[in-house]
Every structure is written in structure tokens, then in C-alpha cells.
């Protein structure tokens, strides 16, 4: 067991493309860290560099305090679970799991004992004599995990280990992975493109975009206090709503009405190079049916009226889609997010507003409805840099902050 430190680690290819840029990351002993981001963000390359399957162009990688830049994968004492599982098809499950131990030249008895132990943990005992071809997807996945845990390495690396499973199995295996990691207490780096996996599994999440780290923190912190537009849009499902907002005489002109601004944000906007246009972000759960809001709460937000497009009742609450008019919010980050999620999943930049209202709301499709939203929970972003202007000392403070 060991900590993993990435010190300004970069990866560039001979043709000049930079896949990973100056990644600084300290992973504590026993920590479960998730690397997440859209495809091509450099998360897998980063993992491969930690594994030793790809060379590090510059920077330093330390495992357990030791520089391992030039060490072969087999000398780093880390195990990896591949997206494709990469089981050896010519070997039985037992042989697959014993392979790393046999290479380590352990005696037969110890090997058998360790394999049996790992098999028990992963409920593979009955399958030990089968070949991978005769296993289901979930079973293969467990064998791949077994091969990784059997030799008790310093760290686990997992490259989208669940993405080949069907949705139900994925949720199931997610808890298996989580429980296993807690049980073994082994440092784990886990790569995924699925933000739900990132939110549910990790102690800390690293969000990457275009080879650079955007923000590192516990899932809840990333959700509540996104440092920039990309993080805000990437984390959360359904994603945050983004609206175009024009700065006018100390308030914001948006499709939801004029949003008042607190002193702190206003001061920031008074600077000479301050943007004249902003992007306003609100999460779906920060809306509420205006009829259901008590007076005390009402004062902390504002209301608007819009035609209801679609109502999706989830039982516990209702997802209500509104059509709002006005200019679309546009920024490079939003386009990237939309391209990654597929336009259907990402309503963020469009004229659609996704809200999560209480189940008691009497909202109906085709009607117009008054909706309240919480001004303390809104975020304002600079469209040029993507920076979150409402952050104070790293905490989101809303629009009214003094």
C-alpha cells in the first residue's frame, strides 16, 4: 500500500499533440480517487502513465515516495483492471488469477491459498475451473478484479471497468467495487466517463478536460461549488441549466427576469475588463412550484412564469421542462459538454429549462406555471474563461452575496 503523487506530469506525442498537461495530484494511501471527464480528456492516458504502459514526457511520478518514471510496469507493484477485462482465454479462471502469482514465483500452496481466498471474496469459487469464454459479462468482470486483488499490490488502477456491463449489473458491481476497496483499503485510481459512477464511488473526484485538471475534490464539493462552467455542467444529472445573462445597471437581465446582484458580485463586475455578458447556472432542484413555497423561503429567491413543456413524474418528485425565451447561453465548454453527452441528454445551453419540483405540485403539461428559484444557489460564469464568479474562498455564495 502506498500513496501516489503526480508532480507536473505531462504527456506529449511526437506529432506535437499534448494529451496530458501538468497534472498535479496527490493520492493518499488507501484513498479512492476517480478520474472523470469526456472522451479524449486525457484520463486514460494519465492512468496508463501511472501504470507504466505509457511513458511520461515530463514531470515526476512517485509511488510510495519512490520515483517510478523509468520503472517497467512489473516493477511498480500495481494491478490494473481493464475495460475489456483482458482475461487470458487459454487459461481457466484459477489460472488467470494465479498468473501474477506464478510470475512472482510463489510456491504452489501459497498460490492456491491466495486464489481461493480472492475467489471467495468475489464469489467465484464455483467458477474456478471454467474458461473465460463460458462466463457471463459480470463474472468475467469479477475474474478481472480477482486477478488484480490476488497479489495484494500497492495500488489498483481501473480503466472504466464497468462500462461493458448492462445498466443493472453496473449498479450492482458499483457497490461490489466500493465494498471491496473499503475492505482492502488499497489506494485506487479509477477512470470513468460516467459522472454517476464518479459521484457515487470516489473519496475524491478529479475532473479533467483537454488534458488539464479542472477541479479536484470530494463529489459533494464539486457539485455544490464548481470552480468553472465545465465542472458545473459535467457533474449532475440532469445537468445544470445555463442561461444567457446580460449585465445592466447592477442587475442581470435574463430570460427568467431581472436578477438582483449582491455587492460582492457587483464590485467584481465593475472592473474595467469585466464581462458584459454572463452565463447563469441553476441546478434543477433549486426550482420550486411557487404555490408550495412559504413566505420565508420566497424572500430568498425570485419567481417567473413560463409554459410547461413536459412533466415527468418520478414519484418522489417531478421533473418539469419549461420553454423559456431569450438568447441561448454559449461557451466552448457548453458545446463540448453537449457533444459529449449527446444533444438529447444535455439541455443545458438550450431554450429548455429542467426543474425538479415537489411531487405535490399540480403542474400540468400545456399550462403556464409560476415557478420560484433560489437566488442563493445560482452560479454566474464568465463565458470567456468559464470561471465561476459567485465563488468566495472556494465556496459558492449565490448572486446576492455581500
Amino acid at each position: 500500500m502506498a500513496d501516489i503523487v503526480l508532480d507536473k506530469v505531462s504527456k506529449s506525442f511526437p506529432d506535437g499533440t499534448v494529451a496530458v498537461q501538468d497534472v498535479d495530484l496527490e493520492i493518499a494511501d488507501g484513498e479512492f480517487v476517480i478520474l472523470v471527464g469526456p472522451s479524449g480528456c486525457g484520463k486514460s492516458t494519465t492512468l496508463n502513465m501511472i501504470a507504466g504502459l505509457e511513458d511520461i514526457s515530463s514531470g515526476e511520478l512517485r509511488i510510495g515516495g519512490q520515483r517510478v518514471n523509468d520503472k517497467a510496469p512489473r516493477d511498480r507493484d500495481i494491478a490494473m483492471v481493464f475495460q475489456s477485462y483482458a482475461l487470458y482465454p487459454n487459461m481457466t479462471v484459477r489460472e488467470n488469477m494465479a498468473f501474477p502469482l506464478r510470475l512472482a514465483k510463489l510456491d504452489k500452496e501459497t498460490i492456491n491459498q491466495k486464489v481461493d481466498e480472492a475467489a471467495k471474496v468475489l464469489e467465484l469459487t464455483a467458477l474456478l475451473d471454467r474458461k473465460p469464454a463460458n462466463l457471463s459479462g459480470g463474472q468475467r468482470q469479477r475474474v478481472a478484479m480477482g486477478r488484480a486483488i490476488v497479489r495484494q499490490p500497492k495500488a489498483f488502477l481501473m480503466d472504466e471497468p464497468l462500462s461493458n456491463l448492462d445498466a443493472k449489473l453496473r449498479v450492482q458491481m458499483r457497490t461490489v467495487v466500493s465494498r471491496l476497496q473499503k475492505q482492502l483499503g488499497t489506494t485506487t485510481v479509477y477512470v470513468t466517463h460516467d459522472q454517476t459512477e464518479a459521484m457515487t464511488l470516489g473519496d475524491r473526484v478529479v475532473i479533467m478536460r483537454g488534458g488539464a485538471v479542472q477541479q479536484v475534490g470530494p463529489p459533494q464539493e464539486l457539485y455544490d461549488h464548481p470552480r468553472n462552467l465545465f465542472v458545473a455542467g459535467f457533474i449532475g444529472s440532469p445537468s445544470m441549466n445555463f442561461l444567457h445573462a446580460a449585465v445592466q445597471d447592477g442587475s442581470l437581465h435574463t430570460a427568467l427576469g431581472d436578477v438582483p446582484l449582491g455587492d460582492r458580485v457587483r464590485r467584481e463586475l465593475e472592473a474595467a475588463d469585466a464581462p458584459r455578458e454572463l452565463i447563469l447556472g441553476i441546478r434543477p432542484e433549486h426550482f420550486e412550484d411557487a404555490e408550495l413555497v412559504d413566505d420565508d423561503t420566497r424572500r430568498r429567491g425570485m419567481e417567473f412564469e413560463a409554459p410547461v413543456d413536459i412533466v415527468e413524474s418520478m414519484g418522489s418528485d417531478k421533473y418539469v421542462y419549461f420553454t423559456v425565451e431569450g438568447e441561448k447561453a454559449s461557451a466552448a465548454e457548453l458545446e463540448e459538454l453537449a457533444a459529449d453527452a449527446g444533444a438529447a441528454d444535455f439541455a443545458g445551453g438550450g431554450g429548455n429549462l429542467v426543474t425538479r419540483l415537489s411531487a405535490e405540485s399540480a403542474v400540468a403539461e400545456g399550462q403556464s406555471r409560476r415557478v420560484w428559484f433560489n437566488l442563493e444557489k445560482i452560479h454566474l460564469f464568465d463565458p470567456a474563461t468559464g470561471r465561476n464568479l459567485t465563488l468566495r474562498d472556494g465556496r459558492a455564495a449565490g448572486a446576492l452575496d455581500d
Binding site: 501504470a51 507504466g52 504502459l53 517497467a72 510496469p73 512489473r74 500495481i78 494491478a79 490494473m80 481493464f82 475495460q83 475489456s84 477485462y85 483482458a86 482475461l87 487470458y88 482465454p89 487459454n90 498468473f99 501474477p100 510470475l103 512472482a104 474458461k131 473465460p132 469464454a133 463460458n134 462466463l135 457471463s136 459479462g137 468475467r140 486477478r147 497479489r151 488502477l157 461493458n164
Partner: protein, 280 residues
């Protein structure tokens, strides 16, 4: 539906007939030679497919002559050694070609293709001179070397196609599990490429076994003469005797190793050996 099955049955029948025709066309000469080899000299030219008088004299004759047995040993030895070396070298070259990106890779592939296409006839005289100078003429290595040269492109092409099918992740996994590059190749990749190795071995062996051109130019005595050449030197007991029966018997005998070789390795060419390696 009814008409559908009817047409497929009729189509099957048509194809079946066509297949039988092709097989008969290909096999009749072989069977004819087999039949001739069992005939006595007197009935040799009677034109009957099934011999009227069966005899094993022809086989006795060829195995009595030292010439043929010696040639058989030469053939088996030379073909096996050439096959082994060509497959081992070819496997390593093909692995490098399919996995690595090294300078001159395209050149290597191009040159090996060039060798495969080069007319062998035009190389025979220079080879003859070179081998005489080097003292390789009329020796086993004198034949093994050109065989390897011409079999390698074949081996490299077949094998690299097989290696490309093996998921790269398996190799990465082996490395992560603590294997060296060599161990990863020997213990993970090579077993999976086994069908490819056997296919290549069969092709190379047949190529070496059947060669006549190099064998007749680069040998002069029984030291290295292979069976196809020895056959052409066959004579009867006396100059008045026609060796047809003996030649046919020898022809039958030399097809046997090939059939055995193919049957032996065919069992090992199991398709779908890599199934279950990656996802599902």
C-alpha cells in the same frame, strides 16, 4: 415458405453435385496413380481403374533401393528443419510488425513481399554459383537456407494477420501482472496465436516438401537430394524395364507425410480460441 425450402433444397442439391464434380476432378488423377502403383508390369497399361492383379512389388522395389529411402530421409529432415526455423523467425518478425512502430517497418514488409513475388527461376543460377563457392552445394543447409528465404514472407504475412487479431489489452494485462515482454509473448500471446502458427507451419512444410526447382539445381548426389528429384532419377532394374509402377508407388508414398502432417496439425487449428478474452 414451402417454395422457400424447396428452392434451398434444390440449391443444396445443385451445389452438392457441383462439389462432387470438383472433388472427383481433383482426386481421380491421385487415385489413378494409387491404382497404378498396385498393378503388375503386365497389367500396367490395361486401362482398368481397379487393378486385375494386386501386387505390392512396386513398393518393395522402391524401399529396396537405397536411393529412395535416403531421399525420403533428406526430404523429411530438410522440410522439418526449414519449417521450424521459418515459423520461429516468422513469428518474431510478425509480432514486431503487428505490435511495434519501428523505423523501416514499411520497408521490411515491402522487401519481404518482393521476395515472395520474385521469380525463383531467375535466382537458381546465381544461387548455384554462390553455394558452390561457399561449400553449401549438395548439403542440407544448402537447401534449407533458400527454403527459409522463400517461406519467410509467407510466414510473416500469415502470422502478422493472426497476431493482429489478438487484443493488445492482453499483453498490457500480462505486463501489469508482472510479466516481461518475453514472458508476455511466450505465455500469453504465443498460445493464442497457436492456430496461426500451425497454419503457417503446414503451408511452409508443403512448400518445402513440394519444391523441385531448388532441389534439382542445388544437389548432385544422394547426400541432399529430396524425393521429388529422386523420383525423376528413377530407373528400372535394367534399362529395358519401365519404372512407371515404381514411380507411382513413390508418388503415393511421398503424399502420405503431407496428409499426416495436415491431419495432425488440423486438429490444433481450433477457431475461436480467443473468445472470452475481451468483453462479450
Amino acid at each position: 415458405m414451402a417454395t422457400g425450402t424447396e428452392t434451398t433444397t434444390r440449391a443444396k442439391l445443385r451445389w452438392g453435385l457441383l462439389d462432387v464434380l470438383v472433388v472427383v476432378f481433383a482426386l481421380v488423377p491421385v487415385l489413378w496413380i494409387a491404382s497404378l502403383s498396385f498393378k503388375t508390369p503386365a497389367t500396367l497399361t490395361d486401362g482398368k481403374f481397379i487393378p486385375r492383379e494386386w501386387t505390392l512389388d512396386n513398393y518393395k522395389t522402391i524401399f529396396d533401393t537405397d536411393q529412395f529411402v535416403r531421399a525420403l530421409v533428406n526430404s523429411i529432415g530438410i522440410a522439418l528443419i526449414a519449417t521450424l526455423i521459418a515459423v520461429v523467425l516468422g513469428a518474431m518478425a510478425a509480432y514486431a510488425i503487428s505490435r511495434l512502430d519501428f523505423p523501416g517497418k514499411k520497408l521490411l514488409v515491402g522487401v519481404s513481399l518482393l521476395i515472395a513475388m520474385f521469380p525463383q527461376v531467375s535466382l537458381v543460377s546465381p544461387l548455384f554459383e554462390i553455394e558452390r563457392q561457399l561449400g553449401l552445394f549438395d548439403t542440407w543447409p544448402g537447401l534449407i537456407l533458400p527454403y527459409i528465404t522463400f517461406a519467410l514472407p509467407l510466414a510473416i504475412y500469415t502470422l502478422s494477420a493472426f497476431f493482429k487479431q489478438i487484443p493488445w489489452d492482453l499483453e498490457k494485462a500480462a505486463k501489469m501482472d508482472g510479466a516481461t515482454q518475453g514472458q508476455a509473448f511466450r505465455r500469453v500471446i504465443a498460445p493464442l496465436a497457436a492456430p496461426g502458427l500451425f497454419t503457417t507451419a503446414i503451408l511452409v512444410f508443403i512448400f518445402c516438401w513440394n519444391d523441385f526447382l531448388f532441389a534439382i539445381t542445388l544437389t548432385s548426389t544422394e547426400r541432399a537430394r529430396t524425393v521429388p528429384v529422386a523420383l525423376s532419377f528413377f530407373t528400372g532394374e535394367s534399362q529395358f524395364e519401365d519404372p512407371t509402377g515404381a514411380i507411382c508407388a513413390a508418388a503415393v508414398v511421398i503424399t502420405v507425410p503431407i496428409i499426416l502432417f495436415v491431419l495432425f496439425f488440423q486438429r490444433r487449428i481450433v477457431s475461436g480460441l480467443t473468445s472470452g478474452a475481451v468483453k462479450g
